[in-house]
Symmetry: C3
Subunit: 327 residues, 3 copies
């Protein structure tokens, strides 16, 4: 009556990995980052081609607990879990018990009690996943906590560069656009720095803070000035829906100064990588010809998102299993 | 091309179980209740620990047909079905064909025709699952029909007491709070009485009817009066969202008279069990220190919810299969 | 660590099938239609009875990309995919990235990049699935594009007639009601004609165009006139929610002239088949006694919907696999 689980994995669990949670990239070591990237690459090559379904999470349940809406990230995590043979449950704040006066910690503990093994959490308040990780026994993965961090987005961006260049060491990576409100920027900065890249943040002064200089990040307000020496441009979305004041006079002006277009591409390095976390605003941060052009690795980012999430799900739940079995 | 289904179950199907539907606890015998509890306990011990995925519902489809919204109960049923290897489909009234003028019986018959084997139904009208069971061939499970019954909630409450005490016989169980509007109360009362418990219903006179005395239930309007002799307190949620009139002067007054807090706990039996069907209103029917304290078995209830639903799904669909194969 | 996939299929892949997409029935040959019907019948008989779960889509992902809402068609596709062992992801326009300014082609390419193998698309604009099929590598299935086509609905209607009569050749099939706005009517007309049926479209002049006469379809404005010679009546839903003008004076008048009721049934052929794509408006296009009577095959249509969709999912993805492996 039981499905047979084949004993030999195509991948041995990395001895050096001990984390039950993935809350940020800031606290990860370069070794831990590389463990995730190597695992993700192994999963990616294993599931493509034959498109085989794995069983690493067989019998485990991954709960998506999204207090902020997100179809894309939620689907990516969900797909990653199911491709590893896991079950998923979806919990969104709309229509949930939150509306009936429940605290989010009670919601999380309830979901855990339904025997969830991993909880993927998105919340508008920074630190929510960290706080939850202290109230539940299951693994917690941060899927974005306000403007703080979005570690799997950082990882998929870094994996995409690593895949195309073999190493991050010595590369110049510019994050362009909305740095102030962007958890993606923060996760990228921590991860890229640890792996030896030189990071530039670039955008209108209202969206880019000099604060980052204290962490060895270069802060520049002109895209044209840095363009010739960038190996990678990561064009962050202007999150119109998050802004209540106008950080720049007009979209047209923003595009004039910061959009990546054919003319700017001509002045960039010949092998420059153009990245953008979706959904992209065509004509705002990127023109269609560049988005669809040969330098663009935007869709690789999406594919790597599933691979990175498979890796993280497997690593955190594996670390927890090993700890439990050693008790 | 077929997935192998291992022939030997870890559990033999109970010969005495013949029901294709679970519509209420009122009509179940004590033996049938114990069959469900024993099956649930077997599933619980089998799926925890190794967290193995079972195949009892392999190839079967369980449809959640919720005309009233519920994330929690829906997820619990869904998880139970998938942990048994079944597929699930979700049907909620929002955005469904109901809005296009279809009757709920037509909706149900359509879902059945998609070859659903089991239908889990929640509806605001008492008797809807019973009525549906006469119009479809598939198994019907009541997941709450207005103020009538919510049998799996009753079962998970009873299972939690049974797990902690070994038997229901002779225990004094008080249901506190909103008895009038509560299908949970009704299912608990029928189940507890059949298994030999003494049941007290307790709350403001506006929410507790003397009607229950006809069924051997004790009706008391003061929590303090019954506290010293209770083995179990089940603190029902005040369903603010269901009430159009005010059944008591203020939440503060309700909490003063009926909330379980540290001071009341000191006057209770030393081994009292504190239960509450979530989501709990902290500070209304229960204070945080009691909800999180050593007497609380609130999260056990949630875990047992999945086990009880696995048992019910397996029993009803197994009874139907046996009948079909004996034709 | 891998789930074993049994090598021998119960069905060999039809050599003559080469399409990666199913966009309409207009461009299909009679042979291709019969390939789908035969495959669907094989899947239907294989999954009923033993209700075994198949593995034809094991490791593949089917994305439901519904820009127009539909619980029923979406669930039918989703169930079909999972019954073949595939994974599913759901993408609805509400709450998705569309609202963040993304084009639908970018949305589709993103979903594909998550390694979706098949995309099931519904959109209010005719031609959207065709246009998408030119921008993605994965298989595209049209699940309804405005008033243009809804090929799997056409196929399930045709399969239902074929099952009951053995052949379409020479049968007289009338489509009654809202022909003008109906993609179901269009898909039916193309499919039925190719398989040798005589097709009549019948309804109020405001909803039925003489245009169809150019394609060998008989256009009649009176149901009573054609009733005695019809083998099949397919009673299309009056889509009240799509109409901004009133195509007829009143629902009562429509029912008087076009509803199928007991009295009309008495004047029809003895073995007439009564069909209706749900959700039905009881008392408008059909009376309850006829909907639930012995001539009605309405629920067979629903069951065949899952079978037809299993067939289409398997055929398009199989054709794509064969092409890739022959590269």
């Amino acid at each position: 009556m039981m499905m047979e689980i084949q004993p030999e994995p195509f991948l041995t669990f990395p001895e050096s990995w001990h984390r039950h949670h993935l809350l940020d990239l800031e606290s990860l070591s370069a070794d831990e980052l590389m463990t995730i990237l190597n695992t993700a690459a192994a999963f990616k090559s294993e599931t493509q081609g034959f498109r085989r379904k794995l069983t690493a999470l067989q019998g485990k349940t991954c709960a998506n607990l999204f207090f902020e809406n997100s179809t894309r990230t939620r689907n990516s995590f969900s797909l990653a879990a199911r491709r590893l043979g896991g079950d998923t449950i979806e919990f969104t704040s709309a229509g949930s018990s939150i509306a009936k006066g429940e605290t989010y910690i009670d919601t999380a503990r309830n979901i855990e009690a339904m025997t969830a093994d991993i909880m993927v959490v998105r919340h508008s308040t920074p630190g929510t996943p960290l706080r939850l990780s202290k109230h539940v026994d299951c693994c917690v993965i941060n899927a974005g906590d306000g403007p703080h961090e979005h570690p799997t987005q950082g990882l998929l961006d870094i994996m995409t560069i690593w895949e195309h260049r073999g190493s991050l060491e010595g590369l110049t990576v510019a994050l362009v656009g909305d740095i102030a409100y962007s958890r993606t920027a923060r996760s990228n900065i921590w991860g890229l720095k640890k792996l030896g890249a030189h990071v530039i943040v670039c955008g209108p002064a209202t969206l880019v803070s000099r604060y980052w200089e204290d962490f060895g990040v270069e802060v520049v307000y002109s895209l044209d000035k840095i363009l010739p020496r960038c190996d990678v441009l990561n064009l962050l979305r202007i999150q119109f829906e998050r802004q209540h004041t106008r950080p720049f006079p007009s979209v047209r002006e923003y595009a004039l100064l910061f959009a990546m277009n054919r003319e700017r591409l001509a002045r960039a390095k010949e092998d420059i990588l153009i990245m953008a976390p979706g959904p992209i605003n065509r004509g705002v941060e990127i023109t269609p010809d560049v988005a669809d052009g040969k330098h663009s690795v935007i869709l690789d980012q999406v594919t790597n998102g599933v691979a990175v999430r498979m890796a993280v799900l497997w690593l955190v739940s594996g670390a927890r299993d090993r700890k439990e079995s050693s008790r």
